[in-house]
């Protein structure tokens, strides 16, 4: 299982300056601030953002409820159906998505998505029963922004009003 490598290349324009001796956190976590800001309820626990979560919160007594703001790919329709699929629900077509409730978000209109049942996040986590989803998906310029709340059904139901207020408070960072 030994091989020898002697290939080299010259330094190119793509070789940008780097930070030497960066820690694992500096290497693997985004150091940039989120482009989105919002006023989260006081009882939501703020968590560090991740590569895919611009804003990240935990809520509820069970400790398994979470809310996060992401920038996503695809269309609003794609994202609605991706979420519904996580709850084993059938895909919607464009007409059905257009008929969903609308809320204001980041200067545009977002669709409000709800689902409940078995939740399979697809991130290697096991499927959990009795979960619910509430969230919004909006096309803002060329990007798709999502706010997703998932957790035990009772806890999500109890937090929906706060979630709506949080979505309304979202704004682009200066």
């Amino acid at each position: 299982m030994e091989v020898t490598s002697t290939e080299t290349r010259a330094v190119l324009s793509a070789d940008k300056p780097v930070k030497l001796f960066a820690s694992s956190d500096e290497r693997f976590r985004a150091a940039v601030d989120s482009p989105v800001q919002g006023d989260a309820p006081a009882d939501w626990l703020s968590r560090p953002g991740t590569e895919f979560r611009l804003l990240n919160y935990a809520f509820g007594a069970s400790g398994s409820g979470e809310v996060y703001v992401s920038r996503s790919m695809g269309s609003v329709l794609d994202n609605v159906n991706r979420w519904l699929k996580q709850f084993e629900q059938k895909d919607l077509d464009q007409v059905e998505v257009d008929a969903l409730e609308k809320v204001s978000m980041l200067g545009g209109q977002a669709v409000w998505v709800q689902a409940e049942g078995s939740y399979a996040s697809g991130m290697g986590k096991p499927t959990v029963e009795g979960f619910a989803l509430a969230g919004t998906i909006a096309q803002v310029g060329a990007d798709i922004y999502t706010v997703k709340m998932v957790g035990p059904k009772d806890e999500v139901t109890a937090e929906r009003v706060k979630l709506a207020a949080f979505v309304k408070s979202l704004r682009m960072a200066e």
């Binding site: 030994e2 091989v3 490598s5 290939e7 290349r9 330094v11 190119l12 780097v18 694992s24 980041l106």
Partner: protein, 422 residues
């Protein structure tokens, strides 16, 4: 009785044919051509259906890769009739095309009847041969990558679409001097929990490296975000979560576990390499400082390209591009040339083709943020051959049609001339 005699005679003729002659007639024959074209038709159809589920790149590799000597095509029946997936074994498309090339060369050129009235046929067959040849040359030599830059930036680099490599650089005075490249083919087979460890000897460096558990689409996760699956190595609070690959494999992000073995026998902790990091890993070996970086293979261009202006227009209320245009300056040996690169209007220069691929802004929400452009860079000597081959086939068919028409007219005139005058 007469029939028996004919059969005997035919058998005798067959016996008289030498083995090379039989092979030639088999390879040049219509039966083989028919079978090969049917297989190609089936493969094209199945690959078109399969790429919806598995992605274009993966499907093309499955059906037409030179390493695929045989393939199992998959045909999924509609749900209404059971939704069964039929498995259809067949030879690899690369070799079917190769055999078809030989068949057409022998049957359509070498053995074909020659003559002035067959010129069109021969030209058309030559055009199809050129088309198949271009596919083989493309398979063997083509390189594809992207060049990304913001307005005002200059680039002399293309980044490969698919291949992740490990780069090792020694830093003196804070900057790298030269970059050692460990190619992806040394890593790609180190998959899964029971992956072996591959030692890569680096003779010009004071250490060798070891790699294991390569994930073609691995995400580096913090244990604080998600508990690692049992048996997954955790290094400094992080581990590699091995995700399924995407249909569009170019968006996969590779990762692996790495270790360096200094020749002075000192011990240095293992670390994670990922294509999705903000900084490289740094290690001090003696008094020398080295960085370790996993990224897509970079290839230098023979000239530099400066992005002067990037223009993106979209259809109203959609992200569908209406117009993408990059105005660039090509810089080479002190000379400059302005070029406009638009959708379907690439820049071709020194064997490279630059297509307009993507456009965007540093911050999509701010109209005055810096625009960027992504060009697709293709190096393929056969780039234009399919285009030429279509012209050759067209000319051949046209010549054939004109000859047939001429023969028809001559025959009619002869017939009229031979008819008795009233």
């Amino acid at each position: 009785m007469v029939e028996e005699t004919n059969q005997d005679s035919s058998a005798a003729m067959q016996r008289r044919k030498s083995l090379p002659s039989l092979v030639f007639h088999f390879l040049a024959g219509f039966p083989l051509a028919t079978v090969l074209m049917l297989i190609l038709l089936l493969q094209t159809w199945l690959a078109t259906l399969e790429q919806v589920d598995y992605g274009l790149h993966a499907t093309l590799r499955k059906y037409f890769d030179p390493q695929a000597f045989y393939i199992i095509g998959e045909l999924r029946l509609p749900e209404e009739i059971g939704g069964l997936a039929l498995k259809i074994p067949m030879p690899g498309g690369y070799y079917v095309l190769g055999l078809f090339f030989i068949n057409l060369l022998l049957g359509g050129i070498v053995r074909a009847r020659k003559g002035w009235n067959k010129v069109g046929n021969l030209i058309s067959h030559a055009g199809i041969l050129l088309m198949i040849l271009s596919a083989a040359v493309t398979e063997r030599t083509e390189k594809r990558g992207t060049m990304d830059f913001f307005e005002g930036e200059t680039s002399n680099t293309a980044q490969d679409y698919y291949e992740y490599v490990v780069e090792v650089s020694e830093h003196t005075n804070g900057a790298p001097k030269e970059v050692h490249v460990i190619r992806g083919n040394y890593l790609a087979d180190l998959r899964g929990e029971s992956a072996p460890v591959r030692k890569v000897l680096l003779p010009s460096l004071p250490f060798d490296m070891e790699f294991t558990r390569y994930a073609p689409n691995g995400r580096v996760m913090s244990v604080s975000e998600m508990a690692p699956p049992a048996g997954t190595p955790v290094l400094d609070g992080y581990y590699i979560f091995d995700r399924p690959t995407n249909k569009a494999t170019e968006i996969d992000v590779a990762a692996c576990y790495a270790k360096i073995s200094p020749r002075d026998a000192s011990s240095i902790p293992s670390f994670i390499l990922s294509g999705d990091v903000f900084q490289p890993h740094t290690v001090k070996v003696g008094e020398r400082t080295f960085t370790f970086h996993m990224r897509k293979l970079l290839w230098p261009m023979p000239f530099s390209v400066k992005l002067d202006k990037a223009t993106a227009e979209y259809y109203p209320n959609s992200t569908k591009p209406k117009k993408f245009e990059s105005i660039v300056t090509r810089l080479e040996n002190g000379s400059e040339a302005k070029v406009e690169i638009k959708m379907n209007e690439p820049m071709r220069y020194e064997g490279l083709t630059f297509y307009q691929r993507m456009m965007g802004r540093e911050n999509a929400q701010l109209a005055d943020s810096r625009p960027y452009s992504q060009l697709e860079v293709v190096k393929n000597p056969a780039d234009q051959w399919p285009f030429y081959s279509l012209w050759v086939v067209t000319v051949g068919l046209l010549v054939h049609l004109l000859i047939k028409f001429y023969v028809f007219v001559v025959r009619i005139n002869k017939k009229r001339a031979n008819q008795p005058q009233r």
